[in-house]
Symmetry: C3
Subunit: 216 residues, 3 copies
């Protein structure tokens, strides 16, 4: 029960972030909804394709995509309110990211992935949707740029899941992995923790990405 709530909260937050990018890019309702779907379930669909779960469960069952479409319509109608709720969306997003990292790893283990693959696929479940959103919207992927850490917490949560699950405690693995990932992400937002970039003088300052993929 609780994991369904976290799951849908995460999808909602990610879908809202996608819809906001679409609105700011001037996309039409289809484009906005597509970005919301990519952000909300794209990571899970990629994970399912890599695990040979075909059709991916987010397409085979109707609720996930439908939720993303509804979120995109609500976000479009109440765009200014959603943008004002930016901080709430960031927190929900961190919650969803942490959960996706461990649930993605769990699904991978269940479908025959090695421990190494499960750790990578958990992380992919959590961040690939956001990368797809930015690539399709022609932005530099937010999780790859120099912003506050996002993928590193996902990786850590996913690795923690795999290690603790390997020790035999699956539920503990979900809880600890998700919590650590979410808390580390929230700390990264609060204190602007960032990963290092390469040497500054080698960075080609040509494009700055114009539209923040963050909501607000």
């Amino acid at each position: 029960m609780i994991q369904h709530i976290v799951d849908y909260a995460g999808i909602t937050a990610l879908a809202a972030s996608g819809a906001v990018v679409g609105i700011r890019k001037g996309f039409d309702l289809f484009g906005i909804a597509t970005l919301a779907v990519l952000s909300g379930v794209g990571g899970g669909i990629l994970r399912d394709v890599l695990l040979d779960i075909d059709p991916p469960s987010a397409l085979q069952r109707w609720p996930d995509v439908t939720l993303c479409v509804v979120v995109s319509i609500v976000t479009t109608v109440f765009a200014k309110a959603v943008i004002r709720l930016g901080r709430l969306v960031l927190v929900l997003d961190a919650l969803g990211m942490g959960f996706f990292a461990t649930s993605g790893a769990a699904i991978s283990v269940d479908h025959g992935a090695s421990w190494f693959a499960a750790a990578v696929l958990g992380m992919i479940s959590a961040v690939a949707g956001s990368i797809m959103r930015d690539v399709v919207a022609r932005d530099v992927p937010m999780v790859m740029g120099p912003d506050d850490m996002y993928a590193a917490p996902a990786m850590l949560g996913s690795v923690l899941y795999v290690v603790i699950d390997h020790a035999g405690a699956q539920w503990l693995a979900v809880v600890v992995g998700s919590l650590v990932a979410t808390l580390l992400r929230l700390a990264a937002i609060t204190f602007h923790w960032r990963l290092p970039t390469g040497p500054r003088d080698l960075i080609a300052h040509v494009h700055r990405h114009p539209v923040s993929p963050h909501v607000g």
Copy 2:
């Protein structure tokens, strides 16, 4: 027989649109051919991957990719003539889009997709190639932007197929779904029917996409 003609006409039109984008971007022959292949069969390949048809039939059989490559060469040699034929290409493209939406849904149902998944996958078959073309060519995806409706007719055609097929009339489903999608697309081009965007004052006017993905 008739469906093969429509199928190849659609692939030809989509491949020509991809080749024109490649030419205008200054790509070399390989790049032009790759864009033609992505546009022409990319949607079907993505559908096959999501349905677990591996290798995708557009790769396993030689005619589809070969047709795209031939179209890309002809388009490169007679670029100006093809661009002058822009309206014809748009009509062929609308015909192909309508057919891809229903044939994609039909193939999905045959391979175990739920009705929901079949409707989504039909639409993906019809529009994903065009999104891939634009993403690889570094343009804002035409079907997501504020241009004349493209994806909405595809979605409608695909849903109509699923509903009528469910009622037991597969051939009627193909004909009605394809025709409605094609006619709605042609009407959208003629009368500039568009889906709404988000609130105008939230749109970040930074990038305008420089090269029309339409032929002509």
Copy 3:
């Protein structure tokens, strides 16, 4: 043995090229590592997905991704030295490309691909990682633009493999296909052999891609 060395040399060179693009784009360590992984093993992962090898072997086994991550860290720390070694990286990359083209075709034949599909999938194994790198980094894909030939040698190597293997000589197919592809690529770099583009007056000179995806 020898093929493992060539395989890892190719992955190393491709991963280094991805890391350099990430460094120059100002990505953080995660972004740099992701570009290195996409460049190094992205083509093979796409091939495996299209062949229904799930999870893809580059994820299921740990060495390939780990090598890419190590290369990305070393490249970030010694960025200037790696850029100065540009020519060596180009040669290793040509070696890897030639090998990936034939090994990709061989794996495809082993997994039920038709001869046509195997030739295409060999080429995809060799060049798709580089296209993913550039798309995610928001550059025009280097292998599609007007630069020195890259994909055409890969295609030739992959076709040679399929033809010679069909005649019954698999090892000869690997050696001849790889060598021809690598030598043609090295000649293309040396003599600036390029494929033709479309008519020059149709090229829209809007974007020039700002960061060379070549190392050095």
